[in-house]
Symmetry: C2
Subunit: 299 residues, 2 copies
């Protein structure tokens, strides 16, 4: 079903070679796949030529005749345009797999899956977690929604990028990504509130973080974002405006499912206030600054 014309490996188009897409495309090239890249700003696609990529002028040119098409784009609208407005979907052969690694709204992912299925094209919504560092190291957590057999079939492709888990039907990958962001945001809030209490109580924030490592409060957030809070290093990383965008998306799904998610709603409103006060470009760990202001500390 997959044309293995290049070293016995499926051929790949990679659409969207920005901050995340470029290192992902490099990982695929490094694993021996034939990869044709496209990016709206073509200079970012050209930069991959030295790593062995072919460069296409349009999404359709990149995708014509390949076995697997990856997209890594900024939002649902961008994916819609690249797939359907640009004519990319029209050149895909039945049996092709579209792997959308962008983080977009679950209903849009489901809609894309249904429209591609009508043309005999497989769709996986496969957003990732792990950031640029994970993309470069090939250690992304990939949450895949869609047909389990298709995820299985692409095992060698995903292996070049990180660890893939099939989490459910179409849209499930996007839901899991949102839920991941929800945990990240609330845990940042938890660590920030603990830091505020610790300082008010006369204890050392740095010693506190040291002391509780390895216990039940241990987390990647305590490790990484806790260290940022102590060092007051708020260069992103993950900008607060994107954290807010994710939380807005979570609450929009919560509305759709009529869910009450009290901590999510609360941390969303805090990020909203922080971004409104000008914190949007600071790392999401800078939620500490918002809490400190709320409690009358100097920023």
């Amino acid at each position: 079903m997959i044309d293995t014309s290049h070293n016995g490996l499926p051929s790949i188009a990679f659409l969207g070679t920005g901050l995340m897409g470029a290192p992902m495309a490099r990982r695929l090239l490094g694993a021996g796949f034939k990869v044709t890249v496209w990016n709206r700003d073509m200079s970012k696609a050209e930069a991959l030529r030295s790593a062995g990529a072919d460069v296409a002028a349009t999404p359709a040119d990149a995708a014509r005749g390949v076995d697997v098409v990856f997209t890594m784009l900024s939002d649902g609208k961008a994916v819609e345009e690249v797939l359907f407005t640009s004519g990319c979907a029209d050149v895909l052969r039945p049996g092709t797999v579209l792997v959308d690694t962008s983080s977009i709204a679950p209903p849009i992912a489901k809609d894309h899956a249904a429209r591609l299925a009508a043309r005999g094209i497989h769709h996986l919504d496969a957003p990732v977690s792990g950031g640029v560092v994970g993309a470069e190291a090939g250690t992304l957590a990939i949450m895949a929604g869609g047909d389990a057999a298709v995820v299985e079939r692409l095992a060698a492709v995903f292996a070049a990028l990180g660890r893939v888990t099939h989490v459910g039907p179409s849209g499930a990958g996007q839901i899991c990504k949102l839920a991941n962001q929800q945990i990240v945001a609330i845990t940042i809030g938890a660590v920030a509130e603990a830091m505020v209490l610790v300082e008010a109580g006369g204890a050392s924030r740095e010693r506190f973080r040291e002391a509780i490592r390895g216990g039940f409060a241990e987390s990647r957030i305590l490790e990484l974002h806790g260290a940022r809070m102590i060092a007051r290093d708020f260069k992103p990383g993950g900008p607060s405006r994107l954290q807010l965008k994710d939380l807005d998306a979570v609450m929009s799904m919560a509305d759709q499912y009529s869910l009450e998610l009290p901590l999510t709603e609360r941390v969303r409103s805090e990020f909203s206030e922080f971004v409104a006060a000008g914190g949007g470009e600071q790392d999401h760990s800078a939620l500490l600054l918002h809490l400190e202001r709320l409690n009358g500390h100097k920023a």
Copy 2:
């Protein structure tokens, strides 16, 4: 300053050999310390005789002449009674160290430290995190408030119990323990809300947890309490009523310092509702049940 009459090691009294105290006393015995134990329910103290403990009938009998006195009691009132009402403090020699590993209110710990200091007795507030499992394995996180030199002097004693960190002056250990519990409670809430979203969105909770491990959402809570939520195994562990007690203590300190801690306040009110609805004896991970009820799921 410390009498090293037994194998060159300081002699120890351990007051309160319940769920946590018993394995801690066993660890000290296993490390070669001479330990005299006392417990209100004497059968729990007697049970340590076979491990080499001497058993005393009163706190004062246990503490008379020793170098270090440990307390592991249920609350500040119990510590007050054992130290001051029972006459224990009266028999301590100047230079003795009282290590209170109980989790009690920071102002009470400071008060005890001041009253003992007036008698020339050192006080460390040194609450622990890691539960019975950590106590048995000698891997407790110990947060010590008080004189750094005294913490240093007891390095060999603490090494038998886990990892000690000096976090600040008297009371700082208790503040850090509260902040630790704050992070634990909010992170449980974060994982529970994510689980609710994941299920509403048609993804698998189990696969979700698998997928996000190793990413920014990784935590001990996701690992342990997330597994409990998936298995719906809510036998404590850490009962919800104790989690609520800890959160009440956090908010009481927040009131004292005039702090706003929005996520803490929110999760406190959720635990309060859950306990009021009869969930007090279930593990704190059962906050998921509260959220499911809030969202109209069947329990």
